[in-house]
Amino acid sequence: MFASSFVRAAFPFAVVAAIWELVAHSGAFPPRLFPPLEEIGATLARLTVQGILPHHAAETVFRLAFGFAIAAALGVLVGILMGRYRRAEDLLLPLVSIGAPIPGLAYAPLFLLWFGLGDTGSIVLVAFVSMFPVIINSWTGVKAVKEIWLRAAQTMGADERRLFRYVILPGALPYILTGCRLGLAQAWRILVAVEMLAAVPWGLGWLIFGAREFLNTDAMLAGIAVIAVIGLALEKFVFQRLERYTVVRWGMVAA
């Protein structure tokens, strides 16, 4: 059962790989620009063994984690405040709705000017951009907590702190997690691009962009493969798991 589903999932990749090989070996394109798979694989292995690729990946993941941690902490806080207090909502909602639709990368040059090239600029940008979905979803989540739960808890004597801990937070959590998921995906997309622009010395985005100068298409494609693996891992292992342990277990989402 497992083996057959694995074969079925692997089949399309085998076909694409075969087509790639045919095109690469046909000589229609210069091999420097369109390297065959074995060369990409060799580069991937070589860069991994030399520790270059892990170093790039580690820097990227560090920036992602750092930037996103700021975004999640601030975003959830602001979102909950907006959902709970009328004042905060009136003040912040218009600003959030103006800022959210502007593509994050449009801010990139400005942030690089303000915070400098390198780590600070890129982390601040990632945090800023990925904060919007977190804020919007946390705010919606708090608003979506059923009125009747709040009233029931209050009649049973829950004070503000308990109300928050046992009713509002679990009630809003599915939305908050969705927001974090969207935010992380956003952060990931922005980060790869900003690493190309911010001239950081290490990072997968930089690896890909820097390889262009030397026509190292094999290194670029190896970098893209690593990016794909990290992206998939984030989705599969971080968020689906988090969701299973909290929301599904608390019965907030029909499992």
Binding site: P94, I102, A106, V192, R212
Partner: protein, 252 residues
């Protein structure tokens, strides 16, 4: 009214910071400076030129993504082998940010429009494929059977039942695709260094420390995004999905 108030407060705070002299004026220009720059760029037509170039790239990429996405999405929903072939590929390629392809596309297709449009295409096609596929599969089977028993076949079934039935998902997909495309085009213009375009203006302004040009272009990018998001997609939704009664039907 309240919305206006909070925007005014934010602008005043910015203006105070800009005038306090903590930061260089070149980096944090005052609002009148930004407004003057915006006006000058609008008046001499350079802003319009950049905006038109950017819009051309977005819509070329979006049109390409929509046509490929719709066809592939419907085929995946209709034919099992197509689905089992393309679904793993789509899920493997989806988590790669479109801008990661920028250097590769630049090498393959050169700087300029082709690379930019392809990056936009890559960004926009995934929401189209996924939403069309989901939408076509979410069509109420009762409708299919009802139409079938009334003698609808092939073409009629597809155009009169499946397409309207899937339309709420497809419109959402288009909307998501536009958002992605709009992000991707700005980044692609910065990297692919074409000589025109809103993303390029912002990036180019960095070289000359023209923070006022950046903020002015940022305002234009925000305004265009807002107009499309609210007006174009809002009215598209009204004229199709709402009129066909799809959304109400879905809720009932």
């Amino acid at each position: 009214m309240k919305a206006l108030l909070s925007v005014v407060i934010a602008l005043v705070v910015y203006e105070v910071i800009a005038r306090a002299g903590w930061f260089a004026t070149a980096l944090v220009p005052t609002l009148p400076m930004v407004a003057r720059t915006l006006w000058a760029m609008l008046a001499d037509g350079s802003m319009a030129g950049h905006a038109i170039n950017t819009l051309y790239r977005v819509f070329a990429g979006l049109a390409l993504a929509a046509s490929v996405g719709l066809v592939l999405g419907f085929l995946m929903a209709r034919y099992r082998p197509v689905e089992s072939f393309f679904l793993p590929l789509v899920s493997a390629l989806m988590p790669i940010p479109s801008l990661a392809w920028a250097p590769v596309f630049i090498l393959w297709f050169g700087l300029g429009n082709v690379a930019t449009i392809l990056i936009v295409f890559y960004a926009a096609s995934f929401p189209m494929v996924i939403n069309t596929w989901t939408g076509a599969r979410a069509v109420n089977p009762l409708w299919l059977r009802a139409a079938g028993s009334m003698g609808a076949r092939g073409g009629a079934m597809f155009w009169k039942v499946v397409v309207p039935g899937a339309s709420p998902f497809i419109i959402t997909g288009l909307r998501l695709a536009f958002q992605r495309a709009w992000i991707a085009v700005v980044g692609a213009e910065m990297l692919a260094a074409s000589a025109f375009g809103l993303g390029w203006v912002i990036f180019d302004a960095k070289e000359f420390l023209n923070a006022d040009v950046m903020l002015a272009s940022l305002a234009v990018i925000g305004a265009i995004g807002f107009v499309f998001e609210r007006l174009v997609f809002g009215s598209l939704e009204r004229t199709t999905v709402l009129r066909w009664g799809m959304v109400r039907a879905a809720k009932a």
